[in-house]
Structure formats: structure tokens, C-alpha cells
């Protein structure tokens, strides 16, 4: 492919065997019409859509499926603009190549949800496309697939294809294009009664120049978007046929089990390698960066042999580190006058001086592991001039880049075969396990399937950062806040930058982060910085309401007077939860609201605490404004999912460090919400018609404060550090 220009254009062309292919082409000139039989030129078209002569439609989706339903939602968006017959639509996952890199994820992350003027936005599109190319982004994360790829690529491609099909029919019948209509994959000329299927028109449509700016439907004309459709991926997930990375079988494949130096940053000695090498089925014991792997002819043999391997840590930087010390250090650091400001508005000091009441509180949340159900794994096969990688990854292009580096091959010689992900939550956007598999395959000269044990998964994660903070607020005579102060620790991995901000209208604000670090490796964890900061902000505003002697829902409502979308979400959650209505003895409700990734979610938790201090979450009512819900049933599922994921963390989640090592190791000591702990969840979607927001993450942040605010309402005990399980509530 030649040098790319800065702009992407819609390109179209014919297909081998007939039909229409349409996609964005990055090419020196705008028109990249494909010839019908040239594979070389086919490769240049970043295809989003094909229409075959048999009237079937295939949508190519550049995002990974990890249960969030994006591989159904994106085709729905395209099919709606195309006015396609949904029953004939199938999908296929895009290959890991640069043309599918999504700079909009980068834009969403860097800019949060700030709306920018169009002119600035266009400049950023270019600069961030470069960034995306360089960073190898083809990420599924940041709750971005539907709102960016769906809005910017899928809908445009569908609308463009429809335009071309209508144009082809107009030419064929020699009638004005305005006299035609399209519905269910059929173009009709009502006056003459003529009609043709998309398949019948596809060859001629391929000759029509694609429109540069196709006209998109107004939401009131949607026929597929907004109607729940069964997800494409589900049937294979109930009969065992769905293929995850861990399921790949490559002829001649060997199996590897791995153990890392348990102390972060430590090196180690392994005195009995020779003995372990002689274990049944073992092919080799291989030391790689910071870890040692046993390769055998079956995973269990590799795992069993590895369990007999002695590892002696030496020279660990963090060998005396404990999480208690880290938290203490963070709490101290957050007292610092220094820091970088997220908000510095009005005159906080002056407002504090004139306050009727000053409220102060300090909060802290721990490190957390991701614990996706499918343990980390990757299969790699490095041969002389090529490398194949089989993996379920949130960032297949990033995985390719890392694999190429480990294989010492050009990226073009690396093929990433992306599979279903058995959960990602941010962990599967990292590439450590990919590099390891490639390195092992190189060393043994055969395909190697590397599987981490659950213990390694918990102990060698890229953890959700622990954060400590100190908050203060000034209350006026009416009990409402006149100043809001927040100094928190920032150890990185805290994006998006908006997450520490308060959503409430408070005139004087000082919100700043103080940089801290530790030897604990950090990464993105579902909803990223919003998990910590929503807990802080929504707990503290609850404390202010209590200090003011006001109802916590009404208090928030007053503070959101000028934010109608937020207010409607808050009101809906409260109303549907029966806020203020009588509850069974010992039950109480708590409320919280958070805007994240372009969506607003409020939750009301109904809990009880028994005489032994045991917390039971009976019900969670959620109200969600994600603009337009593309596949409402899948949106409900994501909110249910976000609540359970956040509830596990709030109730039980803590990664502790002792002598430099992670204490927890597996589900018995890193417990999860199970069926018996799962509350009834009632989700209400609000169709605001605003810009489409993300949905994979926004369900998670509000549950922790909704829960602890409910515990306060039930017991009078304010929980300022998580998890709940370490507090005595008896």
C-alpha cells in the first residue's frame, strides 16, 4: 500500500464471484474502486460490508467480543442505515491490521467526554489517528465501540451502501432516485410496482461512486437500532462450541505453565531445574524475563512439574512492602499542598472561612485484580519467517506489535487470530502473556500454548490502582455546599481525566491529584478512574446531605437543578426504587449517580445488615441514559454485569501485599459474588435521543457508594474504605 493521506474515504467495489464490497479506504485518492478479480486491490479496502448476489449481507466488525454484545450491536447500526433485512445479516471479526485501528478510542480516552468544536475535533482526528497507528490501537475498551466505531464507521457505511443501491436501481429502471424506496433489503419503485433485492442490484451498485458524506437517518426513522435483537454469539456459548483463545488446538502443539517471581521487580534462582526437567512429559524448563516456564506434552504435566519447581527470590526492590504501608504513605501524600489540578475554580479558601459548617472526610480504596473467568493464555508458533498467534485479546493490533517484537520479525509477518474473550475487563488489553508465548515458541521451535494458573492470574495482574484522598466541603446556612475540595493520590492508570471531577454545581472547587508510585504494577480495570472517584464523590455528597439533615436523594436533586439529563436519571432511579416508601424492618436504601464514558447511570441499592454484621443486598434499581440504546436487551445485560462486577469489588475485593507479594491467590481467598449473593436487578433505560454513550463500563461505578450509603442509612455507620467485608458492622 502506498503512503496514506490524512483522510479516510469511503471506497467501494465488486467482489470475486459478484456483489458489492464497501469500506473505508486509506488511499492517495478518494476513489478506490475495486476491480472484480484483483485480490491485491481487495486487500487495500478496509471492508466493513459485503452484499452478495444471494442477497446476504456480511458486516465486518473491528472489535472483540467479550460478552458485551458489540459484535451484534455494530451490525445492527449498519443494517439499520442500510434498511437491510436483519435476518440475512451475519458478522465476521476484522483481521488485525492497521486499517482497522480506531483512533476514536484514543480520542475518547484523551478527551474524556468533552464536546469539542468541530474544527478542533478534526485536527485531533488526524493527530490521534497517527497516535493510534503508532500505538497499534485496535482496542475494545473505553466503552467506545458503539459510540465511535458504530457512529462514525458502521452507520456511514450502511447509509453509503443504501445510496449506491438506490442509485443502481434508478439507473437500471431509468427513474429518478427520489421515486425509489428501500426496505428489508428490497428497492421498490412504487409507481411502476417494480422491485429488486439488494443482491440483484449489488453488481451494478458496485459501479456507483460512494458518497463522501452519506446522509444518516434521524433516530425517529430507526427500525433496527433500539429494538432488542438476540446476540449472534450466544448460541455457540450454550453448546460448548464457542472458541476462546484457550481452546485452540494446533498440530504438534506443546503446553506451557508459568510462574513469575512473586515479589514485584525481583529476580530469582531456581535450584532444582534439572530435577524438574526429568518429570514425566516435560520437554523443557525455560527462564524468560522475570518468570520461568515448564513446557510439556500436556498442560497438566507442565503445571504439576512447575509446582515442584523451587523459586528463591533475590534482590526484590519491594520485598518488605506491605499494602498497609502503601495506603499509609498514600494517605500522607494526599495531604501535600502540591499536585496537579483537575479543577481550580472560585475561591475555596475564602468559602471555607465564611462557611456555616465544614465537613471533612478521608477515603481509601484498595488494589484490585481483574480475575476474568478465562485464565490468561496465548498460543504462538514462530517459524522462520512468520509468527502465528492465537489469543482472545482486547487489542489484537497491540498484541501483533508485541508478538513481532518478541519474535524479532516485521509486523507484517505476524498474524493474530483473535478469539472470543472469556472476560477482559481491561486485563486483556495488556500483552505480557502474548510476548511470553512467542518467546517460548521460539525457544522450543514448536507451537506452544501458554496458560497461566489462576494463582498467577491473581498474583501477577496489572492492578486497579489503590487511591487515598482527603475531602473537605463548606456548607452554607441552607446546608448546601459552597466549596468542594479533594486531594487524591494519582499513581497512573487513572484515566479518563474527568473521573475525579464532581458532577454537582458547586461554585468553589479545588480538585487535585498528587503523584505517588509503588512497585505494584497497574492497569486499566473496568471503568478505570471512575470506580475510585465515584466512591469518593458519591460517598462524600451523601455525608454532606447527612450533615445538612437532608434526604440524600433530594440533596443531590437540588445540586443537579441545572442538569436535566442527570436529574431525570436520578429521579427515575429513585421513583422506580420506591424511594421514601416503607421497607421491611432493617432494610434501607442508598443512592448514587455517575456520568462516565458518555452515559449517566444512577443506582439505588436496598440492603439490610443483620445482628452479626452480615450485609445482604436485596435489590438494585438502575436508571440509565446512554443516549440511544442500540440493543436494549444487551444494554440491560451490561448494566446488570457492571453492578455485579462492582458489587464483588465493593463487598469483598482487596488485593493485599505482604513482604512484597500478593497475599490472595484464587477464588477461595479472593471471593466473588455468586448466585446466593446476587441481588434482584431492575434496569430502566431512558431514551434521551442524545449522543450514544458507552455501556460496558458505566454500570460499575455507582454501585459501591449506593451500597455504602445504604449501609449508612441502615446502621449509621459510614464506610470510608473498601471493601465492606473488612468493617465490623455488628
Amino acid at each position: 500500500m502506498g503512503k496514506w493521506t490524512r483522510r479516510a474515504f469511503l471506497g467501494a467495489g465488486g467482489l470475486v464471484g459478484g456483489g458489492l464490497a464497501l469500506g473505508f479506504a486509506f488511499a492517495p485518492n478518494r476513489m478506490t474502486i475495486l476491480s472484480g478479480d484483483s485480490d491485491a486491490s481487495t486487500a487495500e479496502l478496509n471492508t466493513w460490508l459485503t452484499i452478495r448476489l444471494d442477497n446476504t449481507i456480511k458486516v465486518i466488525v473491528p472489535h472483540s467480543e467479550m460478552g458485551q454484545g458489540t459484535q451484534t450491536g455494530l451490525p445492527m447500526m449498519l443494517a439499520d442505515e442500510l434498511d437491510a433485512d436483519w435476518s440475512t445479516v451475519t458478522m465476521e471479526q476484522a483481521p488485525a491490521t492497521e486499517t482497522y485501528a480506531n483512533n476514536d478510542v484514543a480520542r475518547g480516552f484523551v478527551l474524556g467526554d468533552t464536546t469539542l468544536p468541530e474544527s478542533v475535533s478534526r485536527m485531533l482526528d488526524f493527530s490521534l489517528f497517527k497516535v493510534a497507528q503508532i500505538a497499534g490501537l485496535q482496542i475494545t475498551g473505553g466503552s467506545a465501540s458503539i459510540r465511535f466505531t458504530g457512529q462514525l464507521a458502521m452507520r456511514r457505511a450502511g447509509a453509503a451502501a443504501k445510496h449506491m443501491l438506490l442509485q443502481a436501481a434508478a439507473t437500471r429502471w431509468d427513474v429518478p432516485v427520489e421515486s425509489l424506496s428501500a426496505n428489508e433489503s428490497i428497492v421498490t419503485h412504487a409507481t411502476s410496482g417494480r422491485s429488486a433485492t439488494y443482491g440483484e442490484l449489488a453488481n451494478e451498485a458496485a459501479l456507483v461512486a460512494p458518497p463522501v458524506e452519506p446522509t444518516l437517518k434521524s433516530p425517529s426513522d430507526f427500525t433496527i437500532i433500539g429494538q432488542s435483537q438476540p446476540r449472534f454469539d450466544i448460541p455457540a456459548k450454550v453448546d460448548g462450541s464457542a472458541a476462546y483463545g484457550i481452546d485452540i488446538q494446533v498440530p504438534g502443539m506443546m503446553y506451557a505453565a508459568i510462574k513469575h517471581a512473586p515479589v514485584f521487580g525481583a529476580s530469582f534462582q531456581a535450584p532444582n531445574v534439572e530435577q524438574v526437567k526429568a518429570s514425566p512429559g516435560v520437554i523443557d524448563v525455560i527462564e524468560i524475563d522475570g518468570a520461568i516456564a515448564v513446557v510439556a506434552n500436556n498442560f497438566w504435566r507442565a503445571k504439576t512439574a512447575l509446582e515442584n519447581l523451587e523459586l528463591l527470590c533475590v534482590n526484590g526492590d519491594g520485598e518488605s512492602m506491605t499494602s498497609a504501608q502503601i495506603y499509609e504513605r498514600y494517605a500522607e501524600a494526599a495531604l501535600s499542598e502540591d499536585g496537579s489540578y483537575d479543577a481550580d475554580e472560585g475561591d475555596v479558601a475564602n468559602a471555607m472561612l465564611g462557611a456555616d459548617k465544614i465537613v471533612r472526610a478521608s477515603y481509601q480504596v484498595p488494589f484490585l485484580a481483574h480475575a476474568a473467568m478465562e485464565p490468561l493464555n496465548c498460543t504462538a508458533w514462530v517459524q522462520n519467517d512468520k509468527c502465528d498467534v492465537w489469543v482472545g485479546h482486547q487489542n489484537p493490533l497491540g498484541a501483533r506489535k508485541s508478538a513481532a517484537s518478541a519474535a524479532e520479525l516485521p509486523e507484517e509477518q505476524v498474524t493474530v487470530h483473535n478469539f472470543m474473550l472469556g472476560g477482559g475487563f481491561g486485563r486483556r488489553s495488556e500483552t505480557d502473556f502474548v510476548e511470553q508465548a512467542v518467546t517460548l515458541s521460539r525457544k522450543v521451535g514448536a507451537p506452544v500454548k501458554l496458560i497461566w494458573s489462576r494463582e498467577e492470574d491473581i498474583r501477577q495482574d496489572r492492578y486497579r490502582p489503590a487511591v487515598a484522598n482527603h475531602m473537605a466541603a463548606a456548607l452554607g446556612a441552607d446546608g448546601m455546599p459552597t466549596a468542594w475540595q479533594n486531594s487524591y493520590t494519582n499513581s497512573g492508570a487513572n484515566e479518563p481525566g474527568e473521573s475525579p471531577l464532581t458532577q454537582y454545581a458547586i461554585a468553589n472547587q479545588s480538585i487535585k491529584g498528587v503523584d505517588v508510585s509503588s512497585a505494584v504494577p497497574l492497569g486499566a480495570w473496568r471503568s478505570v478512574g471512575h470506580t475510585q472517584h465515584c466512591f469518593f464523590n458519591e460517598s462524600f455528597v451523601d455525608e454532606l446531605a447527612a450533615e445538612a439533615g437532608q434526604d440524600p436523594y433530594e440533596y443531590r436533586r437540588t445540586l443537579l437543578a441545572d442538569m436535566p439529563r442527570h436529574r431525570k436519571v436520578l429521579d427515575t432511579a429513585a421513583e422506580k426504587a420506591g424511594w421514601g416508601t416503607p421497607l421491611p424492618e432493617g432494610h434501607a436504601r442508598g443512592i448514587a449517580i455517575e456520568q462516565s464514558f458518555g452515559s449517566i447511570v444512577a443506582q439505588v441499592a436496598e440492603v439490610s445488615v443483620d445482628e452479626f454484621g452480615q450485609v445482604k443486598v436485596h435489590k438494585v434499581t438502575a436508571a440509565v441514559d446512554c443516549g440511544i440504546a442500540v440493543n436494549p436487551n444487551a444494554v440491560d445485560a451490561q448494566i446488570e454485569s457492571g453492578i455485579i462486577y462492582g458489587l464483588t469489588a465493593a463487598l469483598f475485593g482487596e488485593i493485599e501485599i505482604d513482604e512484597g507479594c500478593v497475599v490472595q491467590s484464587n477464588f477461595p481467598d479472593y471471593p466473588m459474588v455468586r448466585l446466593q449473593d446476587a441481588p434482584e436487578i431492575d434496569v430502566h433505560l431512558i431514551d434521551s435521543g442524545e449522543a450514544i454513550g458507552g455501556i460496558g463500563e458505566p454500570g460499575t461505578p455507582p454501585i459501591a457508594p449506593a451500597l455504602t450509603n445504604a449501609i449508612f442509612a441502615a446502621t449509621g455507620k459510614r464506610i470510608r474504605s473498601l471493601p465492606v467485608s473488612k468493617h465490623d458492622l455488628a
Binding site: 450466544i234 455457540a236 450454550v238 497438566w300 473467568m373 446488570e640 466473588m672 446466593q676
Partner: protein, 149 residues
């Protein structure tokens, strides 16, 4: 040791270590990858299969202990026609990432075989499998639908 297993109606004769867990025999020796590895300590239930009709966690079950047994995996559950639990799972759109669902479905199917109308408490006590995507609400709904029939 020589082991004989009847897996989804097919007889297999294997020569493997007696202590190798059934999970790895199914996955790596027989290529039946629908049964999943989740924790390796019988905690999460992703590896649940039926051994002579009873739900068992296969990740810690030595194959030597099930010599001669009849094993049903997720691939065999609905081999002839979809099992009611599988149908209910599709209808309620239960799976998300789906990784835990083979084990979840096998655990629920075994429970319903034994107790066709479990109470909510009986279901929660019998099925302690972990789902990190939080499909519990839909599992409750799907099982309610099956027991009301």
C-alpha cells in the same frame, strides 16, 4: 494407567496418569474443549461435567477415580436436541463472555434432573458457580421459567 471412559456415549480407552484431573483428559487428550478451566481448585465450577448423572467439578477429579464412568460434557448435553436449559439460556440471553456457562448449564441441568422445581434458595445453594460477567439475574429468571412449566 489404562482408563476407560464413556464420554457423551463414546467409549475411550486411554493410557494416562491416574491422578490427571478429568478436566485435562477431556480437554487435552480428547479435544473436548467446551469444559473450561477456571480455577483448578474446585471453586468456580467452570469445569462442571456430569459423572454418572451427577454434577462434578472435573478440575480436581483424578481420572483414575472415574474409570469406567459415563461422562456427559456440554458437547453431549444437547447432542440430539437442545436441552431445555440451553433453550432457556438463549431465550433469556444469559451468557455474556460465556466462559463459565458450560459449567453453569451442566450444574443447573443436573440440579433440575434431581429436583425439577427448586426454590430460589435451593438453586442458590446447589449452583455455586462463579460468573464474572454477572449473569446471575438472568440465570434466576431462566431457571424460574423452567420450573414454572
Amino acid at each position: 494407567m489404562a482408563v476407560e471412559l464413556h464420554v457423551n456415549g463414546v467409549r475411550h480407552q486411554l493410557d494416562v496418569e491416574a491422578e490427571m484431573p478429568l478436566l485435562w483428559v477431556l480437554r487435552d487428550e480428547l479435544g473436548l474443549t467446551g469444559t473450561k478451566f477456571g480455577c483448578g481448585v474446585s471453586s468456580c465450577g467452570a469445569c462442571t461435567v456430569h459423572v454418572d448423572g451427577t454434577a462434578e467439578r472435573s478440575c480436581t477429579l483424578p481420572v483414575g477415580d472415574v474409570d469406567g464412568a459415563h461422562i456427559t460434557t456440554i458437547e453431549g448435553l444437547g447432542a440430539d436436541e437442545a436441552h431445555p436449559v440451553q433453550i432457556a439460556w438463549i431465550e433469556k440471553q444469559v451468557p455474556q463472555c460465556g466462559y463459565c456457562q458450560s459449567g453453569m448449564i451442566m450444574a443447573v441441568a443436573a440440579l433440575l434432573e434431581e429436583n425439577p422445581s427448586p426454590s430460589r434458595a435451593e438453586l442458590d445453594e446447589a449452583v455455586t458457580n462463579i460468573c464474572r460477567c454477572g449473569s446471575y439475574q438472568r440465570i434466576h429468571e431462566a431457571v424460574d421459567g423452567l420450573t414454572n412449566v
